[in-house]
């Protein structure tokens, strides 16, 4: 247990000194702030267009203006969550890869493995250290985003909002730990560290971008701007009755989507933040009733890759030399 904590502590110190990590985090924080600023500006533009429309309507004698667009501040975080899903995962891979590759490169791995450490201490210790680093990163991002919401977005942040942000932060933390564990495992197995990075990035591409893209493409309601059913003026109940005839196709499409851990993360984070309209301003119990399977899958997947990372970071694989 002590050796695990020593390795974790060493990992945290290494990452603190790593300028690459700082660059990646700064990039992510900047992208998140830009995303909140752009979303707030888009809402203001929409509000201005509404105000102008209502003025014209009143001037023409109408007395029943349409409902004004409402700002739900947490929905401004949609882009920031997506950045963590896409870029955060990529950065978690790079950092996970770096923690193994740097040890191999410097030759310190042989030195560490010459010490009496436990069978799984190296892999688990590194992952524990990286989990702490990602914990600090996601908390810092949450603070930056909350400040951006309150200042640029002009939102009043209450207990409901803070609870949503806290839960989404935990979800995103698990997601980043998942990707670092994947990278550690793949890099440990690869004969050449750079091959490990390329393979891990290819896995990221398929899981984070390609699978959700195929799922989106196969969605019948995602084929024309505004949605197929809206374009054909079909009500929601009729839509469901029609789609019941295509349950097989829809099942395959959904299976492709949920085979990506990114979709589980997204559905959880969007639900806790109220980004998905269905869960906006809903009590936590109602959100949890729908979301617990996704939470369970995310936790199980992270636990599984953690075990995988521990099993692959053996002396035999780590000390294998490039032939």
């Amino acid at each position: 247990m002590t050796d695990l904590l020593v390795i974790a502590g060493r990992e945290i110190r290494e990452r603190r000194r790593d300028p690459l990590l700082l660059v990646l985090i700064a990039f992510l924080a900047l992208a998140s702030i830009v995303s909140v600023v752009v979303a707030a500006a888009a809402f203001r533009t929409e509000l201005d267009a509404y105000t102008a429309y209502v003025s014209q309507l009143l001037a023409s004698g109408s007395s029943t203006p349409p409902a004004a667009p409402r700002l739900f501040p947490m929905q401004l975080l949609r882009g920031a969550v997506e950045y963590v899903e896409v870029l955060g995962a990529l950065f978690a891979i790079v950092v996970g890869y770096g923690s193994v590759a740097a040890e191999r490169r410097r030759g310190t791995l042989d030195l560490v493995l010459s010490r009496p450490i436990g069978r799984f201490s190296l892999g688990l210790g590194k992952l524990l250290g990286l989990s702490a680093v990602w914990g600090i990163v996601v908390i810092s991002l949450a603070v930056v985003e909350t400040i951006a919401l309150a200042t640029v977005g002009g939102a009043s942040i209450g207990l409901y909002e803070l609870r949503g942000i806290a839960l989404a932060t935990v979800v995103l933390w698990l997601y980043l730990v998942f990707w670092s564990a994947v990278a550690i495992g793949i890099t440990a197995l690869a004969r050449r560290p750079s091959t490990g990075l390329i393979v891990a990035v290819a896995v990221w591409l398929v899981v984070v971008l390609i699978l959700p893209q195929i799922g989106d493409t196969m969605d019948p309601d995602n084929q024309v701007p505004g949605g197929l059913f809206a374009a054909l003026q079909i009500q929601r109940t009729d839509e469901l009755s029609v789609m019941a005839h295509f349950a097989g196709f829809d099942g395959v499409r959904n299976a492709i989507e949920v085979s990506s851990i990114e979709k589980h993360t997204e559905r959880l984070a969007f639900a806790f933040l109220g980004i998905k309209d269905q869960y906006n301003q809903q009590p936590l119990s109602a959100v949890w009733a729908d979301m617990w399977p996704y939470a369970l899958t995310l936790v199980a997947a992270t636990a599984l890759v953690t075990v995988g990372a521990a099993l692959t970071t053996t002396r035999r694989t780590l000390q294998r030399r490039d032939s």
Partner: protein, 299 residues
């Protein structure tokens, strides 16, 4: 044979021997091919959904896909070029830039009568052939799949459009090959060599379109383009970031060539921007000094 041609031939040989590069090329070809099949299955299902709605008397509107071009089946190819094609290009370029430095053969290579310019541009040209072959194979296979789906060969106009799509895809991918070569030649560490061009790609693909249009970062994955925000400073932001968002420019040209009804904006301007970026990348790679090529990695 001069240094340029030797370097180009050497690059072809090295890429053929690299298992990682080969896997990426195969995945890219397979996905572009799969996009036609996925497009067909989806369009057929949507048509069935429409028929169901019409039979139930819920609509009298025409089928949104009636009269759609057969090339519409291949519309996802543009997204796969932006995603996996660009990654493939970056990896190929980075490997080319790093190889001599990693093997410590730069000094040996440069003792031969070859200039840094002809060495690098030769590598660039070699990779140009690799990318060209990958695109040619994937689009030829797409042509066959679409012809099989529609029950007849594509017309000359449609075939030319696919060739044009391949050409503009080559221009985009070569720009990222150049970014990869620059990362490989100038970075001090292998990780940074690959990461720097990937960061540039991420910013161009996800961040810039959001700044200019308020689109969601992953709007790229959606087959239907999101409506761009206008007014409130977005027009100015779009004018500034638009030319830099080369993947969006590429998608615009791709949408026109593949006869996507949602295509909008100036395709000619987009082609000009993409060509300018490629020529600029060619020039930047070309001015790399011998000293940069000989610099050892810190790894």
């Amino acid at each position: 044979m001069n240094g340029f041609l030797v370097s180009a031939r050497h690059e072809l040989l090295a890429t053929r021997r690299s298992r990682t590069a080969s896997i990426l090329v195969i995945v890219f070809v397979a996905l572009v091919l799969a996009s036609a099949v996925i497009g067909w299955i989806t369009t057929r299902t949507v048509t069935d959904v429409y028929e169901q709605i019409r039979a139930a008397g819920m609509t009298s509107a025409p089928n949104p896909f009636s009269g759609a071009s057969p090339l519409y089946f291949a519309r996802n190819s543009a997204i796969y070029v932006v995603l996996i094609g660009c990654l493939m290009a970056i990896v190929l370029g980075t490997e080319a830039g790093l190889r001599d430095r990693r093997m410590r053969t730069s000094d040996l290579v440069l003792t031969r009568p070859v200039s840094a310019v002809s060495r690098l541009l030769g590598q660039f040209a070699g990779l140009g052939i690799v990318v060209l072959v990958a695109l040619a194979v994937s689009l030829a296979a797409s042509w066959v799949v679409i012809a099989a789906i529609t029950g007849g060969p594509l017309s000359a106009d449609e075939t030319l459009r696919i060739v044009g799509f391949g050409g503009i895809s080559w221009v985009l991918l070569m720009a990222f090959v150049g970014a990869g070569i620059l990362g490989g030649v100038h970075s001090r560490h292998e990780t940074a060599a690959l990461l720097a061009p990937i960061l540039v790609w991420s910013a161009i693909t996800f961040v810039l379109p959001q700044v200019g249009t308020a689109a969601r970062p992953i709007a790229l994955l959606n087959p239907v383009p999101s409506v761009a925000a206008t007014g409130g400073g977005f027009d100015l932001a779009s004018a500034i970031t638009g030319p830099l968002a080369i993947t969006e420019q590429y998608k615009r040209v791709g949408a026109y060539l593949l006869q996507d009804p949602s295509a909008s904006g100036s395709a000619a301007l987009a082609v000009m921007i993409l060509l300018t970026v490629l020529i600029g990348m060619f020039a930047v790679v070309g001015v790399t000094s011998r000293r940069s090529l000989r610099r050892a990695l810190d790894d």
